[in-house]
Symmetry: C2
Subunit: 456 residues, 2 copies
């Protein structure tokens, strides 16, 4: 028989079981965090009509899209979760209540050039709050607390959420006479961290004819140690700026009440997050020890979610975590927690008799008690079965031989203790007590966070 | 601006938020059940190289497949979770431990003719146990207990798991001299429930030249009230039959130990589940009050999972639940539980003052305590905000006015009681007590099962 090589496409993440457990735990922590803030789950199709998905059209995205025909239909795979949300909200407008708070964690597709750490199928984990006609600034102030909580619960500590406001930037450009070349200036200051202030200044002056004085005062403002104080003197000179500054003040003011520690949050006037979409607060999140990774959670305020589908004005604010890339980075940097449980079962049951009834009943009782139990009845040597448990990191083994069955007992062995202390620790107990013992021991072992940083 | 109609493709399920909560709860119950039996989660790409996915080739499936090119690549969307599993196990053979028990819950794609209740994108929820070279019969005996536990935890009670063994059928055909036309006979007896014994007999005799006597004895055997007793006389006449009968006996023998009540389980000699794939035990699951739905969970034992990718002999046993179709049926039949919580938050917080710090701190404290809290700070009338809570089924509202803030208290209102009893029930408490009260009340309300049958 001719065989086909069982390959997985490049750019498509496919994890081994232990890593998959950690990935899934990240998903479930995010689901829980998002739920705590009153977001409801959505799940939209991965395939949409191309006409619908590409309503906005153009740009880099369209080149990367997976687009194809099936019968008469022109179809595309979604490339983000925002366009499907816009479609959903426009289509179901009358059935939804606003503000509409939704989260969605799902796969999206971009046929990017294959490259290490770049994925063509990847998970995004998004939240958005959509208002009907208006949306209060408090929603923008709440977002950093969700980012903080999410990453903290994942086990990350060394990160910082950077916040800016597009109205502040645009107002500032107007005050400085830079409105005409605002886009060019934005793109240039976006490079500040990468190329440094001198080169940014040179580009502004040489390429975009910004006066040396203006460039200097813009740069000193952008890199001010206390950005809010540096902005204060510009107050009263431009309405948009004043509005933006008030919004930024509100966001900063409520950080403590929202539970975000000061050192995890910073106003950063250099971040812009794209040119034409965001209109108010914008967010980036950086890993302090891995700035090279870039932002691991970004987003912002936009004024009109679904203008391509509806005349309704639907302002919103949202953020997105590129979960597949984040997981790749964590794995690559050795930041996945080796202590996090990845075993597929809590107990491996090894029957030692021909008749399996007692072993099966014990497995059934454990499962009823919420303990994950696996029967190992294959024709293998005892030692091979223990080595199987070891490979899968299963913490307990349970033996039922003739003696145990006659006495209504079971022998439970703690496999990790045996490994750790070089000694075997096992007890023989009546079946119901064994079930209770295992249940209690497992309850005490709360699942460790998926991310573990070394003390840095 | 020209607008595009925000439509969702036909054959693609897109749920409203309340229904999505129930769907997601079904997924999480299945994840939990599968985990209790020691299955580990996998997540494989939705896109595979066509060459890999269609290694087996041919058949109805290939016509339905979503296949397209991107650059030089010939790609296809997966149409089930079994072929990707075969690829995964073959590709990662050296990194896995056998028996390998995996579950996968994910979307698959089939471009079927659009039809009510037929989906082109749908979730399958699969488990498989894969052995390396051999796999003990106990794995086949365990499967019905997983099906039983899964549907029971989902809230379904009126269902029955039907079990048969392909070796028994094939052995029987050999004994009756029907081996040559075994495929035709299988296809015909598969229709027994639909067209009745007389028509089946007529087809066997007229179309496939089965003698009237043989057809009669086959039919009386297939419809025997006690199939195990009816099979007994054939013992010793054919090796394959004897082996199948022993396997079937083992499966039946351990049902009680596995916790499957007798009335939820039946040997049914008429089920075959396809012609060329399964080789031992086969399963179907029917809803007793809705036989028209067909099997809601099916599968069986196969001898060689990955023969198109590897020379390793990898026997397995698995089942699959068509989750999207099941959800459609439950919704359609009114079997979704109206008591199941679908609210996106537990508490809606209504600040009544300009400064929001206290309301925000209260929200933060609730979230720390695991209570899902949403701030409602939009410029809406008080009544509109309560109506919002009502629409979203949020059970509690919390008010913080100037009096509460001055006294360090919060007023908590039980919105469902107000609705149920026609009276308002609210208490004003110190903030920490309010947090504790809400936490406790919510803990007491265990999430109801997603399925609720009427007393039938």
């Amino acid at each position: 028989m001719e065989r086909i090589k069982p390959r997985t496409l490049s750019g498509f993440m496919e994890l081994l079981p232990g890593d998959q457990v950690l990935f899934d735990r990240m998903v479930s922590i995010l689901r829980r965090t998002y739920s705590l803030y009153g977001f409801t789950a959505l799940d939209t199709p991965a395939i949409e009509a191309s006409e619908v998905l590409l309503a906005k059209g153009g740009g880099e995205t369209e080149k990367q899209i997976y687009r194809f025909t099936k019968g008469d239909s022109d179809l595309s795979l979604r490339f983000d979760l925002t366009v499907p949300l816009a479609k959903y909200v426009a289509a179901h407008y009358n059935e939804l209540s606003f503000p509409f708070r939704r989260f969605q964690i799902g796969k999206v597709y971009r046929g990017e050039r294959a490259q290490r750490g770049r994925f063509r199928e990847f998970y995004q984990a998004d939240i958005d709050v959509i208002g009907d006609g208006a949306l209060d600034i408090i929603n923008e102030a709440e977002i950093p607390s969700i980012i903080y909580r999410a990453f903290t619960d994942l086990g990350l500590r060394r990160f910082r959420i950077r916040v800016n406001n597009r109205k502040v930037l645009n107002g500032l450009f107007a005050i400085l006479g830079l409105s005409e070349c605002a886009g060019d200036v934005l793109r240039t200051i976006d490079k500040l961290e990468k190329i440094g202030p001198d080169k940014v200044k040179a580009i502004l002056v040489d390429d975009f004819a910004v006066s040396a004085d203006t460039a200097a005062s813009l740069l000193s403002l952008l890199s001010a140690a206390d950005p809010m104080a540096a902005l204060a003197p510009f107050k009263g000179k431009n309405d948009l700026f004043d509005q933006g500054l008030e919004e930024l003040n509100t966001v900063v003011k409520y950080m403590a009440a929202f539970g975000v520690p000061q050192d995890h949050f910073a106003v950063d006037l250099t971040i812009a997050r794209g040119l034409d979409y965001y209109t108010g607060t914008v967010y980036e999140t950086v890993m302090l020890d891995h700035p090279e990774v870039g932002s691991i959670c970004s987003g912002g305020r936009y004024d009109n979610l679904a203008e391509y589908y509806t005349e309704k004005q639907l302002p919103g604010v949202g953020i997105s975590i590129g979960l597949t890339r984040l997981f790749f980075v964590l794995q690559d940097q050795g930041l996945l927690n080796p202590q996090a449980r990845t075993a597929s079962a809590d107990v491996l049951i090894l029957p030692m008799t021909e008749d399996l009834s007692h072993a099966i009943s014990f497995a059934t009782a454990l499962r009823q008690a919420g303990v994950r139990a696996q029967l190992h009845c294959e024709k293998k040597k005892f030692k091979q079965k223990l080595s199987y448990a070891d490979k899968l990191s299963i913490p307990y083994a349970a033996f039922l031989g003739e003696d145990e069955i006659a006495a209504g007992t079971v022998t439970v062995k703690d496999l990790r203790m045996a490994q750790d202390a070089g000694e075997s620790k096992q007890v023989t107990l009546p079946v119901d007590q064994a079930v209770e013992l295992l249940r209690q021991r497992l309850e005490q072992r709360t699942a460790a966070a998926p991310i573990a940083e070394s003390q840095g």
